[in-house]
Amino acid sequence: MGKMIINGKECEFTNERNILEVIRKNGFNVPTFCYRPDLTKDFGACRMCVVEIDGRMIQASCTTPPAEGMVVKTNTEKVRSIRKTILKLLLANHDRECTTCDKSGTCELQKYSEEYGITDADVKKFVQRKENLPVDNSAYTLVRDPNKCILCGACVRACEEHQGLSVLAFTNRGSKTVVQPMVDKDLAHSECIGCGQCAAVCPTGALTVKSYTEQVWDELMNPEKKVVVQFAPAVRVAIGEMFGIEPGENMTEKLNAALRALGFDLVFDTNFSADLTIMEEATEFLGRLNNGGKLPLFTSCCPGWVKFLELKHPDMLDHLSTCRSPQAMMGSIIREYIPQYYPEFKPENLVSVSIMPCTGKKAEARRDEFKRADGSYEIDYVLTTQEIARMIKSAGIDIKNIKPEKADSPFGKYTGAATIFGVSGGVAEAAARTAYEVVTGQELKDVVINDMRGTNRVKTVELDLNGTHLKVKIVNTIKEAEKCMREIKEGKADYQLLEVMACPGGCINGGGQPMSCNDSEIKEKRARGLYKDDETGELRKSHKNPDVQELYNKHLEAPNSHKAHELLHTTYSNKRKDCYISVGE
């Protein structure tokens, strides 16, 4: 507790770690590149946040703790000149092809250069680094362009602090410093799980989501092709942000309409297959519970988590549910049944696109397990929320005022249990709702399990299904998941179900969502949006979804049937050889 003076205004501070927070809380701002509220705060790499402090001269506000009576000025001639010099020096070594850069418009370097009026002549005073480093385009998920890196270390911290993986690290020294994976490995052959959290915090175009929009445009414009699309739970509560709509606002029906306007021939909802996932996974779980199968069962919806297990803990793969993710289930259901329901959709002209909040889903869709006999994949293209918003903008569609439309049948209906898949704890909550009714044969009145909600990275919940006691552990981020792996290996795990989502908070905060730089307020609003969708819907339990029931009645017989296994389940394998040359194996 104390008082300080910022730009002549008396400001109170309490437990803020640095004066940057105090400055921002009091309605002032200073530019930052490396500062990310969710990551190590006093990193102090970029020095853009310098301020003038009476008696202390110039200091970086992110590394200076507040003190009683401090007099801070955020916008003096001196600090402006320092910030301008930093910008000029960064730009001198920067690939300045802004118009063709994926980050154009959301790039912070671009934004501050404009705000501080940096001119071409300013930058050309400095000699530009001659050598151009190769761009790493190897992965399905992300593109790394070291020529646009300003060495702020946000990605290095995101990978280390969220995922505990440290795929990216500072290498070499001084002017030769590069942020890169081990040795000369590209991302595709590193232990990168594709979560995209590094791209989500990158202030420039050094790490971007690999874009497939051009390929999708080609398919949409091709009159021979019939394009089917599905979109994930977390997309609906975030896409509005790119059109100036509040985070958390449910855009499901407007998005349905916008997708049709873009030229998609059929619009389905991944929420439908999330309901399907619950049917399969709850059945698998109860099967394992009753028949002494491998427990705890791990959820398998998150592609980053699945890849992590295949790379780091291949010995634990038998814990992983064999259920495909909702995206992949929808992919196979579309291939199998759409030509039956819609005769004009033939196997050879059907194109399947999915829209995900997730960068890892792009790699998931390219798994060998989802390869078809002719070499193509069940899902042809995966777009992120960012990419589809850009397509909607470029087509001139006014999504704000478009008339809402329903999804197509027969795979368009969903329940509240499915929509909360997009937030950490949601899969477990949805599974519990169905498991309760299956086990007890009674109707579950109060469907909300509050202990499974909230932004905590670790949640443990005990359930009582009329005498059957269960313990469920819910974690988000791979760093927490790794701790669970140790617990299980050491025999200390007392839970039967483990839900893991790789991104902090779950899919709502995925690497493909609109840039929020890990802002926890935005994250919470998106989560609230999904919970509201659950509360306001008519149906809140997956097994009550009429479309799902019809699919089982007409085609799949029952959960975990032979046909269901063929279409809705998959296998996993040790992927260490793709990535490591290691001794002792």
């Binding site: 280390e160 440290s166 795929v167 990216l168 690290a169 290498t171 070499n172 081990m182 232990e191 040359i581």
Partner: protein, 164 residues
């Protein structure tokens, strides 16, 4: 560097090294020094092994440390490590002609540090602290003072003959 990887690095040696440092992240530099003392360089498998088995490290972070310090080499070194001092004193007293004489004698290719036969590795180092003896060359810890192009050629000739 992956083509130079050979299966010399074995699991047991690595395990012994890590154990001797209690698998502690804070001993990373010491671990790397030990690995380099055994293999004469830091093989990729060794860095990966440390990165995977020490808490709080990853292969990339180990690589980051290895590339930060000039003392670590990522390429196999020759049997003889020749260090030519190019500190101020050695430089003004003619270290460059000595350096050129060595390059010519051991037939070092442009842009390489180690000869094809794996016999010699040439390094330019900053001050070795023996300015009174300038220009100085060190071959495998042995110091050769007041070098001239002729003198170093004779020394290298002797070494090469021993090897034949």
């Amino acid at each position: 560097m992956s083509e130079t990887v050979n299966s010399k690095v074995d699991f047991q040696t690595m395990e012994e090294i890590l154990k001797s440092f209690d698998y502690k992240k804070s001993y990373l530099i010491a671990m790397l020094q030990k690995v380099q003392a055994i293999y004469k360089y830091l093989p990729e498998e060794a860095m990966t092994y440390i990165g995977e088995h020490v808490d709080g490290l990853s292969p990339a972070t180990v690589f980051g440390v290895a590339t930060f310090y000039a003392q670590f080499s990522l390429e196999p070194k020759g049997k003889y490590e020749i260090k030519v001092c190019d500190g101020t004193a050695c430089h003004v007293r003619g270290s460059l002609p000595v350096l050129n004489a060595i390059k010519e004698k051991i037939k070092l290719e442009e842009g390489k540090f180690t000869t094809k036969d794996g016999l010699f590795t040439l390094e330019i180092v900053s001050c070795l602290g023996a300015c009174g003896l300038a220009p100085v060359v060190v071959i495998n810890e042995k110091v050769y003072p007041q070098m001239t192009p002729d003198a170093i050629t004779i020394i290298l000739d002797t070494l090469m003959k021993e090897e034949q």
